[in-house]
Symmetry: C2
Subunit: 321 residues, 2 copies
């Protein structure tokens, strides 16, 4: 059901203010109309012109501006030089575009005092993301969340993706049946070649080979993975490996199965605000469980994790003078 | 390293008897030579002629028989009419071939009093299996195990797959470098069209699109999934939802996160020997946690699971006279 994600909000929620990201493409235009149809009355239509497709980009922005006005909604049209950002920050086009968009959304959130935003990612975007992560060596299956907290500087936003289970095709059909217009190619302009090929070559081929909807099957597998992650969080809390001073208690840690030891360590580093925790680092830190190994491992950002008196704890930045 | 899986056995293990499944194709021929090279001296070469490719099948069997003799090993050559089995048991070709092979291996195990068998599945087989399961709606990622207990009737066998991390290409290169012969097409004769297309179309395309080895990336994701499953097993045991009489304690169960409730229920049904536990059944059984729902759910095999006095338990087969 196309409306499953956008229905089920109570009247108070529908009357409160929401941001909604609208590129002008079919997906986000459908989302906008769906929300209006469901009775959301205080929407702020946010559109960032990425200036990636010259004249077409400007036309997209105009289209969204007119659409917002027609629906009697506030339109926030921003503009960012993604190409410049790529150069200056050394980011890929996809990363630069996403970061520029997020910064713009955060600005809209501040201006309208509204930390909630609807985004139009759908089932095909999700399947593509899962495959993309898989090919980059994800730990299990990783996709987008239906609800996600995004921290930008000191500001927190909540992203809602109510269409994550709806096939993109259904959104187009829904628009067409209602004779609603959209801008072709307005979305995904900054998509990488890899992502585009996953979407336009791999997913249709998987559909054809299996005779099933591959996106749906991937979504189902992802759900299974999510259930396991939910259990992992419970297990990490249940492991009770922290002593009263918040240090990891080694005998407790050693009593756990290896996979849970790693999960507890990853959580410990995360809670301590350590960034850049990758496979290699986790493996070095896990080495500390061996009493005969060197007693400390350097962490990114100048800190380290040390083993002493049957405990593991983080040491602050050393003064090297 | 191609030998990583077959090395690391101690001398006693190498001297004891092992079965090894050899189709005559590159993968299993490489496995056989690798085992011999590593010093395994008491191998029983097991080959089942599936009679799926007429004359070529017979030639495969002859090739394996000669190879075993040349290596001074016992050869067990069996034959099964897979086509007949398909008709009689209503099985797909792939299922019929696998079941016939397993029955043959069990026979060899009995005859040689040896419950251990090496099979030559490699990294590409694994990637193909993971994709195949994914397209059939697996709960997370599901692949083959490096060690797997197979129960056939009352008999238990342990399957060892020492090549599960080796790309198929490396096995062929290894054979070619040593001028060792194999029978092209001897393996995978019964492979479905879907599996063949996953292997020959999807995996190479994923390699090309991502510029990486997709099989390796899939293996890495699978490893992450396995770690989560290991944690799930620990969490199910830790949940302590069973009362002293082995019944599920509802208040304990209700205190768990939803995903763990489901995992505990699935484990409870499995331990009770209930087969055919699918998504729909688990969802019906989970319904029993709601005190206002009907107090029993029918299970496959004529039993049912009942809620009474704050407990869930399995009831035996009813006499309906």
């Amino acid at each position: 059901m196309i409306t499953a994600g956008v229905s089920g909000f109570d009247e108070a929620s529908k009357k409160s203010r929401w941001l909604v990201g609208v590129s002008g493409g079919a997906d986000s235009v459908a989302l906008l109309h769906l929300l209006v149809e469901q009775g959301f009355s205080n929407l702020v239509v946010c559109h960032l012109d990425h200036r990636l497709r010259r004249r077409a980009s400007t036309e997209d922005a105009k289209f969204v501006k007119r659409l917002a006005a027609k629906l009697g909604l506030v339109g926030e049209i921003g503009s960012a030089d993604v190409t410049q950002r790529m150069r200056e920050c050394g980011e890929s086009m996809e990363t630069a575009a996403r970061n520029a968009r997020h910064a713009f959304f955060a600005e809209c959130a501040r201006a309208h005092r509204c930390p909630r935003i609807f985004l139009a990612h759908h089932a095909d975007d999700q399947a593509e993301t899962v495959l993309w992560n898989l090919l980059r060596g994800s730990h299990g299956l990783k996709g987008m969340r239906g609800e996600q907290v995004l921290t930008l500087g000191k500001r927190r936003m909540i992203i809602h993706r109510p269409l994550l289970k709806v096939p993109g095709r259904e959104l187009r059909e829904w628009l067409t049946a209602r004779r609603l217009a959209w801008r072709e190619d307005a979305s995904n302009a900054e998509h990488t070649v890899v992502r585009n090929r996953l979407r336009h070559q791999i997913l249709p081929l998987l559909d054809e080979i299996s005779g099933r909807n591959a996106s749906q099957m991937i979504a189902r597998a992802l759900e299974g993975n999510r259930a396991l992650e939910e259990i992992e969080s419970w297990a990490v809390a249940q492991a009770r490996a922290l002593d009263p001073r918040g240090r990891l208690h080694l005998p407790a840690l050693r009593a756990l199965p290896a996979a849970l030891q790693r999960a507890v360590l990853v959580d410990f580093l995360k809670q301590a605000g350590i960034g850049g925790v990758d496979r290699a680092l986790v493996s070095r830190v896990t080495g500390l469980l061996d009493a005969n190994s060197p007693p400390a491992v350097n962490l990114p950002g100048g800190t380290s994790i040390r083993r002493r008196a049957g405990r593991l704890f983080i040491e602050g930045i050393h003064n090297e003078e």
